[in-house]
């Protein structure tokens, strides 16, 4: 040990969280300095990622890896956490007495998420997951006077506790039957002998616990309620950073720890992938709340990421990473637009019908939201098409042609409700205009996200692809 460089990002965020907690206690109420300092800390952690030695191998007794894969995930997590902090600026009431704790909890959640993507040991995995989830439970019920927010937090907490129990049961079985908690030890045990029932049960329970965290069907029930009830900036955070952390955690567990048992977990992952795509597409039909709809959209998108995971190997991992990066930008962009949906008094609106005729009242916002919707649907000229193609390509390369065909067909089914939003915005009569908000930073972020998903994004295929390939090279 002695050298803390590999965990420098986490150390920066930890110190920043503790400092900001004290700072918020003494700062003027309603001051936004805490928010900007938190953003600064997150950007600083991103810079520290570049300096982290990638070849340090597994440190802390093989429990923690600061490799390219982790760095890729952390970059996504930290940036989406920064966006979530910026989104909250001006969202919580000025009089809300605990607005200073919001960035602190986001920072702590980001630390948990970054530990998740770096974990190479079941203990580390669990601790990272709990740190991330516990902060998330509090964030979900952050507007505690709002009944829906409190309900979201309670629901998330109870179901999250259940999922942690399932995950721990799986971990204890894996440990009991392999005698190791490190991923290398487990992988060696799987490669060594015959894979007995105990190991299969441990594998299934562990994957079920992770599936809950990424909201894959059949462990998705909490998602629409929590996404709807939680404050919008928090929902945006849930749908981006922690979700990607859990997807990458699942990728590392499957490809590293359970690598020799690919045939066993592949069936589970394929089932979860197809079920998520179908349910995400079908259940979204009747929704009238845009946050619920985006929740189903996130379930749907996780399904596509799992198709990449099912492919396995370096190609599959690369597809998952690329998909995650593009998905996060699309989702954050969509939520930034949702944040703009406020009535004349500045109260947030969430119903789909309030979007009607947006193209006439606020044409630029409508254009941006339409681009995100087309991109989430994976319609070709936009960038959202490319990662889907990569995922299908990886599945075909791995010999999973039927899976790729089924997922591609289901993309068309899912496109329906994305197009429905576009139709409401462009072809329905306007009912009332949204309040115009002056948030230059958020506007800049919307523009940046929109440019990213526009065909201009194809220019980024090379750099992101190179990063993803470097990240996937550890498998």
């Amino acid at each position: 040990m002695g050298n803390l460089a590999p965990i420098l990002p986490e150390v920066i965020l930890g110190i920043a969280a503790i400092f900001l907690m004290l700072f918020a206690a003494f700062a003027r109420r309603g001051s936004s300095a805490t928010h900007w300092l938190a953003v600064l800390a997150l950007l600083g952690a991103c810079v520290a990622l570049a300096g982290a030695p990638q070849e340090s191998g597994r440190i802390f007794g093989g429990m923690f890896a600061a490799d390219g894969f982790a760095a890729f995930g952390k970059l996504i997590i930290f940036l989406s956490a920064a966006v979530a902090v910026i989104m909250a600026h001006g969202w919580f009431d000025r009089e809300f007495e605990h607005s200073g704790e919001y960035p602190v909890l986001i920072l702590l959640s980001a630390i948990g998420a970054s530990v998740m993507v770096s974990a190479t040991d079941l203990m580390m995995l669990y601790i990272g997951l709990e740190l991330q989830s516990l902060s998330a439970y509090v964030l979900a019920s952050y507007r505690r006077h709002d009944a829906r927010s409190a309900e979201a937090g309670l629901k998330y907490f109870v179901l999250g506790g259940l999922a942690s129990g399932i995950l721990l049961y799986g971990i204890s079985l894996l440990y009991g039957f392999t005698g190791a908690t490190s991923f290398t030890g487990i992988s060696a045990a799987f490669a060594g002998g015959s894979i007995g029932f105990g190991l299969i049960a441990g594998l299934a329970f562990t994957l079920a616990g992770i599936a809950f965290k990424i909201a894959a069907v059949p462990f998705h029930m909490w998602t629409p309620d929590v996404y709807e009830g939680a404050p919008t900036p928090v929902t945006a955070f849930f749908a981006s950073g922690p979700k990607i952390a859990a997807v990458l955690l699942g990728t590392r567990v499957c490809l590293d720890a359970l690598g020799p048992a690919t045939d066993q977990w592949r069936q589970i992952v394929i089932f979860a992938a197809l079920a998520s795509i179908v349910l995400g597409a079908v259940a979204a039909y009747g929704q009238t709340n845009i946050k619920r709809l985006l929740a189903y959209s996130s379930i749907n998108n996780v399904g596509f990421a799992l198709v990449g995971l099912a492919a396995g190997g370096q190609g599959g991992a690369q597809a998952v990473l690329f998909y995650s990066a593009v998905y996060v930008v699309m989702t954050l962009g969509a939520f930034l637009c949702v944040l703009r949906m406020r009535d004349a008094d500045g109260r947030p609106m969430e119903s789909l019908s309030s979007l009607s005729g947006l193209s006439q009242t606020q044409p630029l916002l409508a254009l941006a939201l339409a681009m995100f919707m087309f991109s989430l649907a994976g319609i070709p000229p936009l960038f959202g098409f490319w990662p889907k193609l990569m995922v299908f390509n990886a599945a075909v390369d791995a010999g999973l042609l039927p899976l790729a065909i089924a997922a591609a067909v289901l993309t068309v089914v899912g496109a329906y409700y994305y197009l429905k939003i576009v139709k409401i915005m462009y072809f329905d009569e306007p009912t009332g205009a949204f309040q115009r908000v002056r948030e230059p930073v958020q506007t800049a972020l919307i523009v940046a996200c929109a440019l990213f998903v526009s065909p201009l994004g194809y220019l980024l295929i090379n750099p992101i692809g190179r990063l993803a390939a470097n990240a996937a090279s550890i498998f």
Binding site: M1, A17, M21, M63, L105, V138
Partner: protein, 203 residues
């Protein structure tokens, strides 16, 4: 010799205070006897070389649990004489539980003396020269430093969460405003008056 003496002293006091926990009339006295029992049990642990457990017993059980008991007993108005009134009625049931526990102890001891059931089941780490507090410390702050520190962060999140979700500033609270108190001058607060005799003051 001194160790033997200490053992009998601690053992006798443990049993005596355990008996007194049950027979003390006043529930507060029961809890105090319980604390004495914990202290003596800690002494027994020290004699067996398990100093970490001894300290844990004092810090956790005496420092936290027993004090909590004491608070509960003192705060809640429980009528203990009424609780005790069903003693004879519930005696058979109590005896049954005592019998079950006793037989379990006997079985456990005989199973233990018969040797381990599985060859590799002995989970006890090999005894080494390091005292067990040092061994635990080396483990927690060496090999498991990162998870240990992160667990600390989890506790921090729990604290922040509890405060964020439950704290409300009450409208009727009257905090001290130091600056205002210091700013206040005698001229603002005191009025000198010279009332004429027989007229009183006008306020």
């Amino acid at each position: 010799m001194i160790a033997l003496l200490a053992f009998y002293l601690f053992a006798t006091l443990t049993i005596a205070s355990a008996v007194l926990v049950i027979f003390a009339r006043n529930p507060v006295h029961s809890v105090l006897w319980l604390i004495l029992g914990f202290f003596n049990a800690a002494g027994l642990m020290l004699l067996t070389g398990a100093e970490f457990i001894a300290m844990l017993l004092v810090i956790v059980y005496v420092g936290a649990v027993a004090v909590l008991f004491l608070f509960v007993v003192m705060m809640l108005d429980i009528d203990f004489s009424q609780l005790r009134s069903g003693f004879n009625r519930n005696l058979p049931f109590g005896l049954l539980i005592a019998l079950v526990l006793l037989s379990e102890i006997v079985i456990a001891i005989s199973a233990y003396s018969a040797g381990p059931a599985f060859a590799h089941a002995s989970g006890a780490p090999p005894a080494n020269a390091l005292p067990n507090i040092e061994a635990l410390g080396a483990m927690l702050y060496g090999q498991y430093l990162l998870p240990f520190e992160l667990a600390g962060l989890i506790l921090l999140v729990a604290m922040i969460g509890a405060i964020v979700l439950t704290h409300r500033s009450r409208g009727d609270a009257r905090p001290q405003k130091v600056a205002r108190q210091i700013r206040r001058r005698p001229e603002d607060a005191v009025k000198m008056a010279k009332p004429a005799v027989g007229e009183g003051v006008s306020l």
